[in-house]
Amino acid sequence: MAERSFDAKRWLGWDTAIIALTVIWLVVASLSVENFGTSRNFTFLILDLLPIAIVALPMTFIIVTGEIDLSVASTLGLSSAVMGQLWTAGLSIETIIPLCVLLGAVLGALNGFLVTGLGLPSLAVTIGTLALYRGLAFVVLGDSAVADFPENYTGWVVGTINDGAVPNVLILLVILAAVFGVLLHATPFGRSLYAIGANAQAAHFSGIRVARTKFWLYVLSGAIAGLAGVLWTLRYSSARADNGAGLELAVVAAVLLGGVSIFGGKGTLPGVLAGVLLLAALQNALRLEDVSGQALNVVTGVLLVASVLLPNIITSVRGGRQRRKLRQATTA
C-alpha cells in the first residue's frame, strides 16, 4: 500500500505543480498588476504565446521519446521566407499556406531521416539544420521583407471572435491541443512514445516501430513549425528570413518547465500548456510592471534551471529516504 501512495505522489508530480502555479500566478497577477486582467491584454497574451504553444505540441512528443528538435524556429523562418517569395511571385495565399505547411513537413522529414535513418544524435542533427534552414531562409528572401499580405488574413490572425476578447487563433490552438492531447494520452500511439522514451530498446523488442514513430514525429514537428511560420508572418504582416529567431529555446524552455523530462519518458501535455502559459503570463506581467528585458531573461532562466533542478532534487531526496528506510529494515 505504501508503494501505491508513492506512485500517486509521483503521478501528481511536477506538471500538476506547474498547473497550480500557473493558476495562482494568473490570479495574483490579475489582482496586483494593473491592466493585466483586461480582455485586451488576454488577446495580446494569447497572440504572444501562440507560436510557442503550437510548436511545443509536437516538441513534447519528441522530447517524450528522448529526442529533441532544435530546428523548429529556423523551419518557421524558412516557411515565412518562402511564403513571402511565393506571394511576391503572385501565387494565391490559399495555395501558399498549404505549401508552407508541406515545406515544413519535408524539412521535418529530413531531420527524421538523419536521426532515424542514419542513426545520428538528434541534438547534433537539429543544431545543424537549425543553421541550414535559417541559412536557406536568407537565400530565399535575402534581407528584404514582404509586407503586403491581404488584410482579411492578417486581420483574422490578430482579430478576435465577434470583436470580443477571444482571439480567432485561440480556436486553432484549442483544436490542435485537443488532437495532440488525445493522441498522447488516450491512444496506444501515445503510450508507445512513453515506452520509447523510457527504454527505446525494450520498446523495440515489444513490437513498437521506434524508428518509424520517431521519423513521423519529426515530420509532424516540421509541418507545425511551417504552419507557425505562416501564422507568424500574417500576425506581423511581415515575411522575413529572421522571423522567429531563437524561438526554439522558448519552446524547449516551456516544455521542460511543463514537466517533460529532457531524458524522455515523462511529462504531460496539460503540463506543457501550463508551462507555455506561465512563461508568457510572467513576461507579460513583468513588462506591464516595466521590468527591463534583461531582468525578464533572468527570471525565465531561473525558472528553467529550477524546473530541471527541482524534480531531480526531489527524486534524489526520495531515493535517499527510501535507502535509509531499507537500511533500517535490514538492520532491524
Binding site: E94, A145, F149
Partner: protein, 358 residues
C-alpha cells in the same frame, strides 16, 4: 487500435491543409488590393494650445543598451522634464522585427499618451501602432521610420539626401584627388536609415564629379561590434587597394576604426562615416580617422518629446505646414508626410571633437 492513432494524425494533417485551402477563390497579390488607407484624423490643430502638463510619453528604441540610443532618449527625458511630462523608456534586448510588438501592446495597456518609436521593421509594428492610435495614443517616429499611416509624425535626424551627400563628400575628401576604391560597412541589411542613405550615396557616386570613386562592396556588420570588426577585416583582405571605409552606423565606424588603428593599414586606409565623438576620439587623436559626422543625437529625443507633447496637446496633428516650438531647438514646421527634419549633421575633426561629450 494503432489505426485510430494513425487516423487521428491523418485527420489533423488534412484539417491543416483544408484550413489553408479553404476558400479556393484565390487571394493573390494582384487582387488583394491596396490596403494602405492612410487614416487621417479629423481633428484640427490649434496652434495656440498650451503644452499640456503630465503627458505620459514612452520611448521605444530599436533595442536597449545601445550607447547611441541611450544618448538619443536622454534628450527626450530632458525635454519631458522641461514640459513636466512623465518619461518612460522600454524596449527589447534584440533588434528583431517582431520583438517591439509586445512592448507596444504593453504601452497600449498602460494607456500612455504618446509613444515614440524607432521601428525595427516599418511594417511589423504597424498593426499594433494602429491599435495604439485607435486607443487615442499619439505616435512619434524617430530614428527609423514606421510605415507612414501608422504614425503621426516622424523626426528625421537629417534629410536622407543631406546625409548621403555628406557621406560621399567625406569619402571623396579622404580618398584624395586620385579617388580609388571605397567600401561601405553598414548596419543590418534591412535597416531603413542606412539603406536609404546608401541609395543616395550610389546616386551621388554615379555623378561625373565622383567618377574616380569606385564602390566595391557593401558589407553588413549587423550593428554588432564583433561582426562589424570581422567585416572590416574581411573588406581589407578582399580589397587590398581599398582607400576608404564609409560606415554609416556608429557601431560600424567604431569597429572599423579599432581594426584599422591596430593594423598595418593604419594611415593608408581612411575610416569615415557616422560616429559618436566619445567612441571615435581615440582614433581621431591617433590619426586613423580624419573626419566623421553626426547630428547631435540627444536633440532627436528632445525634438521627439516636444513633438509628442505638441500632438497630445492638440497644437499639431501631423499635417504638412503646421508649426510648433521645440524649446532650445527653436521653431519647426512639419513637412510632407508628417516629417520633421532636425537639421544638418555636425562634422567632427581633431580640432572640434573635444567640445562634444556623447
Amino acid at each position: 487500435m494503432r489505426v485510430t492513432a494513425r487516423r487521428l494524425l491523418a485527420a489533423t494533417a488534412s484539417t491543416l491543409i483544408l484550413l489553408g485551402a479553404g476558400a479556393c477563390g484565390g487571394t493573390t497579390r494582384e487582387n488583394s488590393g491596396d490596403t494602405g488607407s492612410g487614416a487621417q484624423s479629423g481633428a484640427s490643430a490649434d496652434p495656440n494650445a498650451k503644452f499640456k502638463e503630465g503627458v505620459k510619453m514612452a520611448f521605444l528604441p530599436k533595442q536597449l543598451n545601445n550607447p547611441y540610443t541611450d544618448v538619443e532618449v536622454s534628450g527626450g527625458k530632458a525635454a519631458l522634464g522641461e514640459l513636466k511630462g512623465e518619461y518612460k523608456l522600454v524596449g527589447p534586448n534584440d533588434a528583431s522585427a517582431s520583438s517591439q510588438v509586445s512592448y507596444i501592446n504593453t504601452l497600449i495597456q498602460q494607456q500612455q499618451d504618446v509613444i515614440a518609436i524607432a521601428a525595427n521593421d516599418p511594417n511589423a509594428v504597424c498593426p499594433s501602432l494602429k491599435q495604439a492610435k485607435a486607443a487615442k495614443i499619439k505616435i512619434v517616429g524617430f530614428d527609423s521610420d514606421a510605415a507612414k499611416d501608422c504614425r503621426d509624425v516622424f523626426i528625421n535626424q537629417a534629410t536622407t539626401q543631406g546625409i548621403g551627400e555628406s557621406l560621399v563628400k567625406m569619402a571623396s575628401e579622404q580618398a584624395g584627388p586620385d579617388g580609388g576604391e571605397i567600401a561601405i560597412l553598414s548596419a543590418t541589411p534591412n535597416a531603413t536609415n542606412q539603406n536609404s542613405w546608401i541609395e543616395v550615396m550610389k546616386t551621388e557616386l554615379a555623378k561625373p564629379e565622383n567618377s574616380k570613386l569606385k564602390l566595391v562592396k557593401t558589407a553588413y556588420g549587423n550593428d554588432d561590434d564583433q561582426k562589424s570588426f570581422q567585416e572590416a577585416q574581411g573588406l581589407l583582405q578582399s580589397y587590398p587597394k581599398l582607400k576608404v571605409i564609409v560606415a554609416p552606423t556608429t557601431v560600424g565606424i567604431a569597429a572599423a576604426g579599432r581594426y584599422v588603428s591596430s593594423s598595418s593599414y593604419k594611415g593608408k586606409v581612411a575610416v569615415t562615416g557616422l560616429g559618436l565623438p566619445n567612441q571615435m576620439r581615440e582614433y581621431v587623436k591617433d590619426g586613423t580617422v580624419k573626419k566623421f559626422a553626426l547630428w547631435v543625437p540627444s536633440d532627436i529625443g528632445y525634438l521627439a518629446a516636444y513633438a509628442g507633447v505638441a500632438l497630445a496637446s492638440g497644437q499639431i496633428t501631423g499635417a504638412e505646414g503646421e508649426k510648433f516650438k521645440a524649446g532650445k531647438l527653436g521653431d519647426y514646421t512639419i513637412g510632407k508626410d508628417g516629417e520633421i527634419v532636425l537639421g544638418p549633421p555636425t562634422e567632427f575633426t581633431a580640432e572640434n571633437i573635444d567640445k562634444y561629450d556623447f
